[in-house]
Symmetry: C2
Subunit: 355 residues, 2 copies
């Protein structure tokens, strides 16, 4: 009977882990702010080391947090920055001179052997190494000189959700502190995250209905929001088995727009700021090709979309923390309506041990 479900029954419903972990996001974000002092300490040590070049090591969802951090590092901290290819270290045994390099290794579990090895080797080669994890006693933390705890709490669902947003906020506070910021732009983020979850539920449910039978999705965004597009595509692919592919708005126009047709749904992340200002052109081109556009973000009214999921406005650098929340819920909803269980995706385990 509706309304008399017991707690035990709810626990057995498909997707209950992913759902409850998305709901825990605002609390996780608040814990990070409450522990900002520890991040500031790491920032001080990085500042004294005065690195000249920053590298980021990550895989999967954490790779999208690293992509976000790359924009922060280049724009806010003004340092040249690149993403590491772990296999050059692990398969090809490259041992470059890493003095004056800061390596940020980002991983929920800190348990991936290849990333731990990348971190260990970078330290041996002279880099300052920082592990950004949800598990302060992980192998990656032991390999790194410094550590940042993202305070997401235990994450049991196979699809990472609250740990992703926790990585974003932790990395933001780190780079913001390095550039001398006081984190004040982020103070309202937990409250805005709660508001986003509450205020987008109806639109997400509509989107779940609209895309119940969609065969392929393309996600796109520019600037900071490209991380949202990339993580959205991964989440949809992992949980709903959709063929979802991401392109930055610029890359999409360079060729792959040819693959968009009237059977393609395009999730376009459009938030206020410089990245979002580049999106109307992208959305227009996609619509010319017949694509069905779902716009997500704080500036969805600037683009011509079939469906819109609005998120509250905030500093542009912080908008990816809010934008991803309805997209995570969309992945959850599509998975369930298509008969899947995102807590138990076929072929997927929580910690993957690649080398």
């Amino acid at each position: 009977m509706i309304g008399t479900q017991t707690a035990h029954e709810a626990e057995n419903l498909p997707g209950h882990l992913m759902r409850s972990e998305i709901d825990e996001t605002p609390d996780a974000l608040a814990r990070i702010l409450a522990n900002r002092d520890a991040i500031v300490e790491v920032a001080e040590q990085i500042k004294s080391a005065d690195p000249r070049f920053v590298l980021l090591a990550a895989r999967g969802t954490s790779d999208h947090a690293a992509l976000y951090a790359k924009y922060l590092i280049e724009v806010l901290w003004q340092k040249p920055c690149g993403l590491v290819s772990p296999s050059t270290t692990t398969l090809y045994e490259a041992r470059p001179d890493m003095s004056d390099v800061l390596l940020l290794s980002v991983s929920q579990s800190g348990g991936s052997p290849d990333l731990s090895e990348v971190t260990k080797v970078a330290a041996e080669q002279g880099a300052l190494t920082v592990a950004v994890t949800n598990t302060p006693d992980s192998p990656m933390n032991r390999a790194a000189k410094l550590g940042i705890d993202i305070h997401a709490g235990p994450e049991l669902a196979v699809a990472a959700t609250k740990s992703y947003t926790a990585q974003l906020l932790s990395l933001y506070l780190l780079i913001d502190a390095i550039r001398g910021g006081d984190g004040s732009d982020a103070v309202r983020i937990p409250e805005l995250a709660r508001f986003t979850l509450d205020s987008t539920a109806t639109e997400v449910a509509e989107a779940v209905q609209r895309y119940r039978f969609v065969g392929r999705m393309v996600t796109t965004g520019r600037g900071y929001s490209w991380a949202t597009a990339a993580e959205g595509a991964l989440k949809l692919a992992e949980t709903s088995y959709l063929t979802a592919r991401t392109y930055s708005g610029a890359d999409l126009l360079h060729g792959p727009v040819a693959a968009v047709d009237d059977q393609t749904a395009v999730l376009a992340v459009c938030s206020a700021g410089r990245g979002g200002q580049a999106m109307p052109e992208v959305v227009n081109r996609v619509r010319d090709r017949g694509g069905d556009v779902l716009a997500v973000g704080s500036a969805t009214s600037d683009v011509s979309a079939h469906l819109r999921i609005g998120t509250p406005e905030c500093a542009e650098e912080l908008s990816p923390i809010l934008e991803i929340l309805p997209v995570q819920r969309l992945a959850l909803g599509l998975s369930l309506v298509r008969g899947g269980d995102p807590d138990n995706p076929r072929g997927l385990s929580k910690v993957t041990k690649t080398r």
Copy 2:
């Protein structure tokens, strides 16, 4: 009447530009080797500047040549290296200190305004800048201090083919010369490219038949061959409107393998060497999920595939130049058999002016 087709009629057949440009690859590669001295001169200037970090700027197909170069730079030259996000310069006006940085800007046309701006700004910020283009008088060449001509000859087809392999060989010869190599490993590459084109025609035709109706493809590879997988997915998406998505072999196992099922074709690039040695595990996981595996490369007999397209063995670093040739032909063949014209893809133009 078969056999009496005039040259004029052949010119009007769909795909004739893409077909003839793929066929011109061995000649383009031979021209690059004949002009190796000019590359060695640039290598000498880079060596005297003694950069500590390398950045690569590119979009679309050239971005995959840049990905290939990243592996060369980290493994053969042992320098930390990253791919640039152009929008941090163009949209967000980041102006990092770029002294001790080498920026390699890779573009067929050299005409993309955002990459020219990235090159110009990097030079202003102290980087040594090198334009790697097919058009020595392009805006990007004017923005860069040094230039490398990839000698591919005019490329008229919208889908880049011979310019991609020409970029790969030019970048290989550059990094090889920087580390003191004499280019001898590459001497047979034009001949091996011709052999590859001749010897894989039957298998490519078989693959075109097999994947005539496929809805989605995933491409995967590790190490140097990841560039082949990424470029293959782009080529298939651009010309055949297939939803093709690429993952490095490691990333695929971290989650997206869940989206592979018996309706998915998986193009796995498997060549002799360290990258290829990591592929049997990836292919086994994909087959467990029911995926149909097309293996391409010089070590396809090491994996359990439904269809194999073998390429000749060569130094592992050079194998991407050969691996991509049958994949380009597959994209061409699938485009034609599905009723398209790869020379005239919907929604695509040769030089895209994003900012």
